[in-house]
Symmetry: C3
Subunit: 257 residues, 3 copies
């Protein structure tokens, strides 16, 4: 028997909104430690890595590990039926072929339960190494979202160059070419959430498909800041921490010039 | 000569928005008692019943009864030209083939008049009996609108079950199945507008096409609450009262299982 | 070398939004006096006349006159990359084949620069006479926008009649016909921005294509008021002043009945 209760269904809605356009079916791997999801997008270009730690749930009970294979579009439809301030409980019996989501309003005047059929999805594990990166950039997540949206209007590929002085996003297309440079925050009166910090070991320049970076920024509502980790020749990591609960990170291989 | 003036054109705009997608042409029957409209939707599945009492108008003058046959899409276009805080005057001469709508801004710095051709629409009268119902549910109109919208994502048919303990809306579809249960409000500190009450004589369970119920909820801006009346084998009544003026109600026959 | 800096990039964005759907390519003529643009719409029905005086810029330097031929859709894409409170600097070298737009956030934590290729556009000059008009109407720009939007729902052609007593906008179509009359403001407690004044030498009645008048009202964000100048047989002038900077005006020939 698996049962986990989140105080805010809205947090889970935001996670689904961030990944549902990249992956169609995915396993939510439930273990005593928490819920994790690893999946590649349909085009096998990006890797999604989600972790929700058990101690971030209001209640969490998992006798033994189980994989909940779900259609993300179906799950997203069910989650649309949760009010933002509803609580959410996930329930699954061992060996069951369905999972139940229960949404309760704060005063319990409205209770909803939804049942979704489980899918049998092959379980691939992806080895994710936490290596040391040439540049680790923390910046407001809304700023990254805006930059991706703006540059997508002009071009398809973004070149990200980072060094101690700043991080530069460049693109070009038929209408023109452009660069947006974000500098590390020096004004200490600015809140951490609104600040940009760059931890640069050596300058790095990489090219990425703007389309996928833009997809990642759908996770912006999850966190006020985003962390990007870059090294030559390895995928960029774009990570959104989920307060008190875990994180959602995306990996995207650089384009060769 | 018929002439009636409403302080708020916005009220009439809301009524049109609620019915214009269900019915194309309809007679506004004007009598000394007020304005009424009875019409079936284009598919002949639902019945609309509107009453605006003469004493809810700012001024109202009707020498003898007349039927104003109007194209609701045309009327809706004209009403879009009224500001929400404009007053609205309807004018029709006896035997005339047009009706005039006059909108005046509160300071009279802008006056608009629009003329619409009258249509000759066969006048059917529908016998509406006010019977006693197994269940009469009063709930916040926005809540019913939300439930219809949410469940429409999952299925086409909603099963509504009501008893003293609550009213349950259920649906199922390819993505999954779900139930939303609303309980009667017990907390007396909650305003009447935000409360749910259930007057249940005996338990009742009926199925309805979600599409039509959803259409009815376009009347939500008319009233903070909605009343649903249900009995086995007879159409559900979904009624929105219009403050100081009358009501707009919809009838929908249950689907047989 | 040409270089001009505006404190608010948003002002230039609003200008582009107002004209980019009417004209595809246009010359920004830069001279020591300022920047001007004259262009006819693609259908050669309307004339756009823009003037931005040099003293409205934060800094302005223009050694010798040059014409910057730009694709307005491309320029509009680049301007979408400016935040509303960014400053904007336009830079062009003499004989260069590109122009550079630099956007800087107020705290300079983000600097963007975009380069657009210049186009070689034939330079037509249009003789614009400032004649005396039968009627000069100043009214809230949002009011004119609303009237054009409302009447467009009903018809294709608007008849504008102005005299001392008011200005009447009339149209008719399949759904019905209508008139909206705006009277001069008599209440002196109303702010100038919200007032309507009519300077009428003689009554005038002209017909215009609503489609083009509606296009002009895309300039509404530029100014709280709009001025219309009308005389028999000559194009109407619809003018939006741009505070401290200049104006954007449109000319549209009347339709013959």
């Amino acid at each position: 028997m698996f049962e986990a209760r989140l105080t805010q269904a809205s947090m889970f809605k935001k996670i689904l909104e961030a990944i549902k356009d990249l992956v169609e079916n995915a396993n939510f791997d439930c273990s005593p430690a928490g819920i994790s999801l690893q999946a590649m997008d349909n085009a096998h270009v990006t890797l999604i890595n989600l972790l929700l730690r058990q101690d971030g749930f209001e209640t969490y009970s998992c006798d033994r590990s189980l994989s909940l294979g779900l259609s993300l579009p179906s799950l997203s439809k069910v989650l649309k039926c949760a009010n933002n301030d509803d609580s959410m409980t996930i329930k699954a019996r061992d060996e069951a072929d369905t999972v139940t989501f229960v949404f309760e309003s704060s005063k319990q005047e409205r209770i909803s339960d939804f049942e979704i059929k489980l899918l049998d999805i092959g379980n691939e594990q992806y080895g994710i190494r936490d290596s040391e990166y040439s540049a680790v950039i923390k910046m407001p997540s809304a700023e990254l979202q805006r930059i991706c949206r703006d540059l997508s209007i002009l071009g398809d590929v973004v070149t990200i160059s980072a060094d101690k002085a700043g991080v530069k996003f460049s693109t070009s297309g038929d209408s023109g070419s452009g660069n947006i440079t974000v500098r590390p925050t020096t004004d200490s009166s600015i809140a951490a959430e609104d600040s940009t910090t760059i931890d640069s070991k050596e300058p790095v320049t990489l090219n990425f498909a703007l389309k996928f970076l833009s997809f990642f920024t759908k996770a912006t509502p999850l966190s006020p800041t985003v962390t990007m980790k870059m090294s030559d020749g390895v995928p960029i990591v774009v990570e959104y921490s989920i307060e008190d609960l875990g994180y959602l990170s995306f990996f995207l291989a650089p384009k060769l010039e």
